[in-house]
Symmetry: C2
Subunit: 113 residues, 2 copies
């Protein structure tokens, strides 16, 4: 299973990678409040417009952001569903170690009897 | 604020980066079920022991994993608290776009009156 999984990049790899950069997270934070044009997204960021466009390409490649162009203006939107595999993965880990803590709790309780 | 944030790597950057690799996620999945030695972690992974050690270094750098050596055996454990900043960030985005959907719902309801 591991070899099959390792053979190609999974969507969850791309989402984690996209979110590993603080500027890309600022873009996602802004888009979580509503759609924005590329210029609006670029305004608070300390970088060139072409650097912002590169970050947007990474975000679009991960599925977190989609955009459409009307005339000369490109508007970006968030795609909340793209975060779900990452939320599921984190949730599964938390359940796993909480079960482990419960078992440890049971063991310690038995030990006290 | 942005420039201050961009100036140095944040813990959340390192956690997202650490989790962007499927093999590192397999290691975290295994450690979520309990501590393991480096050899135990390496067994199911299709790579050299030194490649596994490199992945473990990335995971330790992110704070997700800690290890201790007793004699010649190094045992690794998960550090669940290190996932919290990532969970908080994702949770805040979800609240943000759910509020936006609520406002859209209110607007559409008013429009129907």
């Amino acid at each position: 299973m591991l070899q099959r999984r390792a053979g190609r990049e999974q969507p969850v790899d791309r989402v984690f990678h996209a979110l590993a950069d603080p500027h890309r997270r600022v873009i996602v934070e802004r888009l979580s409040r509503g759609p924005a044009t590329v210029s609006e997204l670029a305004r608070p960021l300390p970088m060139s417009l072409s650097a912002v466009v590169q970050h947007l390409q990474v975000l679009q490649g991960s599925g977190l952001v989609r955009s459409e162009k009307l005339g000369r203006v490109r508007t970006c939107r968030i795609e909340p569903a793209a975060l779900r595999p990452v939320e599921r993965w984190i949730g599964a880990r938390r359940s796993s170690w909480e079960r482990r803590l419960d078992r440890l709790g049971d063991y310690l309780a038995e030990d006290n009897d």
